[in-house]
């Protein structure tokens, strides 16, 4: 996957785990907890979706790096780069 395609893909995963979120309303830099009341279950679902989609192992200690859409995209990009 090209790095430029990652944000769109991560947004699809985000709204897949939280279908009650309107994709157009996601502010990339804003914390998902503040923006959408993300809780520990949402975070786990999001981490699981990212892990399955990109084939990367998301450790529990790394959940904080998925706190916003922008952070999650950076995280995926970094993980994919170190694997390449």
């Amino acid at each position: 996957m090209e790095p430029k395609d990652i944000p769109a893909r991560v947004l699809v995963l985000l709204t897949g785990v939280a279908p009650d979120i309107d994709p157009a309303s996601v502010v990339p830099d804003r914390n998902l907890r503040d923006q959408f009341d993300f809780d520990s279950m949402d975070t786990l679902h999001f981490a699981t979706a990212i892990s399955h989609e990109f084939g990367i192992d998301v450790a529990e200690q790394e959940y904080a790096q998925l706190a916003s859409l922008a952070k999650a995209c950076d995280y995926v990009q970094r993980k994919l780069a170190t694997r390449a």
Partner: protein, 390 residues
């Protein structure tokens, strides 16, 4: 052959009516206990109403679009005589439907079988974002027209209607429902409150180790441990698990833990994790995960909304230390869990930083006293300190 009536159950302490949205079965269909028969819209969203017994669906009484009171006959079911024998009750959830229904309910709207007084029973598709927005704006989805060729109601359709009617009250339905249930609780139940603070370190260490040893999709979250600990504790300490009806407490043998789930955009519901005391953590996690997903996409089942015998409410990380919950009638107790935060903690004569959890109990003085409540909170703390036993 015995004919039984399939009635609208009360899906909350103060629910008075619901709107039939769609039938999921048709006359002549064979049905089994637990099958979803109809979808009813309430202030808590769309709820699948499940069959209470096996049989054949004989006649649909209420038509889609009709608003009917709790207790009204929705359909008639022919029960075969072989299936009429009472079930053993050893494994089936007991509380279906636990809420008493009025003796002789009168439908709000006339429901004449076969009459074409209501819109055709097509089940409109509504996007989750549109549903949420409509809920936020207090807009009745039945009044929203779709502008897409596939007849899907989208958020744009809701926004368009909102611009035409900008003064509609926000989330009026759900807020009114919560308000009515909590007012009844505070009016009728003599609450007493206890709190107990525990070192959550051993539990958290165990959980971290467990989660590191399994793939991401099999990890557990803290609240599942709390659910299990509560379920085990109330199984052994009398007076907290059950319902209070007609001046009397009736204990339940099974523990169905209502788990408060916040809805984005406001409001909350507390559907039950059924028979939580006898399920392992893995099963509870799977069921809780499924429940949260369905609650937020508007697909709860009627048994989940009516069965809870006790409730757990947890505000989650980054919340406040202590909460004082309000009992959800007809239950008699609710356990609250504050945020787990690092605090100075004295152990073995030394002060150290530990993750600390304050648990609270609100319970009904008509059934128990503080001494029993204290035993309950201490028992939950003991169980949490030994997570390998959960």
């Amino acid at each position: 052959m015995i004919r039984v009536e399939f009635r609208l159950p009360a899906l909350g302490a103060d629910m008075e009516s619901g709107t039939l949205t769609a039938w999921l079965k048709k006359p002549g269909d064979r049905i089994r206990r637990g099958d979803a028969l109809a979808v009813v819209e309430t202030s808590k969203g769309l709820i699948d109403i499940e069959a209470f017994e096996d049989g054949v669906l004989e006649e649909l009484v209420a038509q889609p679009g009709a608003t009917v009171p709790v207790g009204a006959v929705l359909a008639r079911i022919a029960r075969e005589s072989a299936a009429a024998a009472p079930t053993s009750g050893a494994t089936a959830p007991q509380a279906t439907p636990p809420m008493p229904v009025p003796e002789k309910p009168e439908p709000v709207a006339p429901t004449i079988p076969g009459a074409a007084a209501t819109p055709p029973p097509s089940r409109r598709r509504i996007s989750p974002a549109a549903r949420r927005r409509a809920h936020e704006l207090g807009i009745d989805l039945a009044s929203v027209e779709s502008s897409s060729p596939e007849e899907l109601v989208r958020i744009e359709d809701v926004e368009r209607l909102h611009k035409q009617a900008p003064s509609l009250p926000q989330r009026a339905g759900m807020r009114a429902t919560i308000g009515a249930a909590m007012a009844r609780s505070k009016r009728e139940i003599p609450h007493y409150y206890l709190a107990h603070t525990v070192d959550f370190g051993a539990t958290r260490d165990w959980l971290s180790q467990f989660n590191a040893s399994v793939p991401v999709g099999e990890r557990l979250i803290e609240v599942v441990l709390l659910v299990k600990a509560v379920a085990l504790a109330v199984s052994n300490i009398e007076g907290f698990n059950g319902h209070f009806h007609d001046g009397q407490f009736r204990r339940s043998d099974l523990v169905h833990v209502g788990t408060a789930i916040a809805l984005r955009g406001g409001g909350l519901v507390a559907p039950a994790l059924l028979d939580a005391g006898r399920k392992d953590l893995k099963s509870l996690m799977r069921e809780f995960s499924d429940l949260v997903t369905r609650v937020r996409s508007g697909h709860m089942r009627s048994t989940e909304l009516t069965s809870a015998t006790i409730t757990l409410t947890s505000l989650g990380a980054e919340a406040v230390d202590v909460l004082f919950p309000v009992i959800n009638p007809p239950q008699v107790a609710i356990i609250g869990a504050g945020a787990i935060a690092e605090r100075p903690w004295v152990s073995d004569g030394k002060v150290a930083l530990r993750p600390v959890l304050t648990m609270t109990l609100a319970a009904d003085h008509r059934v128990t006293d503080g001494r029993a409540g204290s035993r309950l909170l201490r028992r939950i703390a003991d169980l949490l300190a030994h997570p390998e036993t959960l």
